[in-house]
Amino acid sequence: MITGRVWKFGDDISTDLIAPGRLFHLRTNLPELAKHVLEDADPEFPKKVKPGDIIVAGKNFGLGSSREHAPLIIKMAGVGAVLAQSFARIFYRNAINIGLPLLDLDTDPIPEGAILEIDLIKGSVKDREGGINLRATPVPPFMIRILEEGGLVPHIQKHGDFQLK
């Protein structure tokens, strides 16, 4: 069960917005880069985000560049999960690979500041107050396995290969 407070974002949050090119030199200093996560989309976010907070976004979250630093610094900033109307393909894969839980569902009904309870395996998203009870598209079982094992590197270390079944 993942529980946290919602930060709401719009559509098409690109990886340029999440991890800007002007801070490219901080890619080898991720804790420093994480202090700037999403600051071009919301300058308050990196300053105020608390461990366990949840990002809730519109469509095509993470579009653009394949930079894995984008989901990495979201995770490093303490975000517990990202929920979106839809994800860009490379971002989705990268997030799973580094152990950042994702769910795609209709995020319109979820307001800023809500406290959510998320069951990743069931794909259920509920508001603690009871007003929201949503179902997400299930994450494929092998991706849940990768998430549970802490990401793709621990998964490969454990199994010696991809365990798709």
Binding site: G21, R22, F24, E68, S86, V153
Partner: protein, 418 residues
């Protein structure tokens, strides 16, 4: 079993027929990183406990995104990549050799290959009928170590192109139109497959432009069947033996097919801050331009520089407009010098920089000031892309870019292509 190009290539690697939606572990032919994604990939290879790669000849590390390095942190990242190449024997393409995707299609990728690259525009090599797809550093690290990756076999969206380009319109306008129609997430998880008589007669340079931007519609890759044009290109590169004819089967199943008649084409522009917000150039003509950038994996080839030089020869760019030109590779640079293109451009006021990504990624070589407008031949114009969230980036063809540099404002290239 009737197969699309994507299915054919994956089926061949799996040794069995595959259907869209299937999960498959596939052996790869090539794994590559660039200098932004490479250090993390190298770190992950080491975390996996590998001190070698699956095949040093098939792993390539490129230094192109910040080349030459503008900061000591990046210089140290470059040192890390060089050390990894030295230790493992992996290939290294260093400062000044060019953009990864350009070098890959010039020297390495063959029809039928599977290429995974830690850069989203890896799809460029799809024009050589390779299943070329962008991934993150960790996926590519696992590929470098094990020589394989997993993928979901994609559905294919067919793009059927007929007719010929009216004067002043080019491949970049075509791909902008397609992305404008499909949308930035219209092809997510699918492969694009470009076909039809207009594609058959299109030169490789144009095909690279099309495949390069497949990812901007969310696609996994952008494939074009290999043919005589492809074979001649490989022959020019001195590797005609790499050629193999691969075409999709008649009756293969496509998710949808988009038909485009080039006769309807007009010069187009992607306006800030989305690649799919595409307008005819007339809608934004007259917008004052502070910087024009001609280059990148999208449009930094000799054909692109020839068009720019044809427009700019004997003229000067507008006083308030900086024109930055970056050949996509050393061989493009050399050829441009031989053809007199470099003198034309420099005499017209162009600032010519080392082959690489140049200002595209917002790291160096032309970062925008507050409120500045840049018209670029690159493939992405997201907010902050060129180093300043207070800048504005428009995307266009090299012809539109060159003519706009002359006028100092976004201008319709048809005025100089009667």
């Amino acid at each position: 079993m009737k197969e699309t190009l994507a299915q054919k290539i994956i089926s061949e690697h799996c040794g069995r027929h595959v259907e869209p939606g299937e999960l498959a572990v596939v052996p790869i032919d090539w794994a590559m990183t660039q200098d932004g994604t490479g250090p993390l990939a190298v770190q992950q290879v080491e975390r996996l406990g590998f001190d070698r790669v699956f095949d040093p000849q098939r792993v390539i590390l490129f230094i192109d995104h910040s080349a030459p390095s503008p900061r000591k942190e990046l210089s140290d990242a470059h040192r890390q990549l060089r050390a990894f190449a030295a230790k493992t024997g992996a290939r290294l393409s260093d400062v000044g050799e060019g953009v990864c995707h350009q070098r890959l299609v010039e020297e390495f990728i063959r029809p039928g290959d599977i290429l995974i690259g830690a850069d989203s525009h890896t799809c460029t090599a799809g024009a050589l009928c390779a299943f070329a797809t962008g991934m993150g550093s960790t996926d590519v690290a696992v590929g470098m170590a094990l020589g394989k990756t997993w993928m979901r076999v994609p559905e294919t969206i067919g793009i059927d192109v007929s007719g010929s380009f009216p004067p002043g319109t080019f491949a970049k306008d075509l791909i902008l139109r397609i992305i404008g129609e499909i949308g930035a997430d219209g092809a997510t998880y699918a492969a694009l497959e470009f076909g039809g008589p207009a594609i058959r007669s299109m030169p490789m340079s144009d095909r690279f432009t099309l495949a390069n931007m497949a990812v901007e519609a969310g696609a996994k890759t952008g494939l074009i069947a290999s043919d005589e044009v492809c074979r001649e290109y490989l022959e020019q590169q001195g590797r005609v033996g790499d050629y193999r004819e691969i075409h999709p089967d008649e009756g293969a199943r496509y998710l949808q097919t988009l038909s485009v008649d080039l006769a309807e084409m007009r010069p187009l522009v992607a306006t800030p801050h989305r690649v799919d917000s595409v307008s005819p150039v007339e809608a934004v003509a007259g917008t004052r331009v502070d910087q024009v950038f001609i280059g990148t994996c999208t449009n930094g080839r000799i054909d692109d520089l020839r068009i720019a030089s044809r427009i700019l020869r004997g003229h000067r760019v507008a006083v308030h407009t900086r024109l930055i030109v970056v050949p996509a590779s050393r061989s493009v640079f050399l050829q441009a010098m031989e053809e007199g293109i470099m003198s034309d451009l420099v005499e017209a006021g162009a600032v010519v920089l080392a082959p690489g990504c140049g200002p595209c990624v917002g790291i160096h070589e032309g970062i925008l000031g507050e409120g500045e407008v840049c018209l670029s031949t690159q493939n992405r114009n997201f907010l902050g892309r060129m180093g300043n969230p207070k800048g504005f980036i428009y995307l266009s063809s090299p012809a539109t870019a060159a003519y706009s540099a002359l006028k100092g404002e976004i201008a319709d290239p048809r005025e100089v292509f009667p």
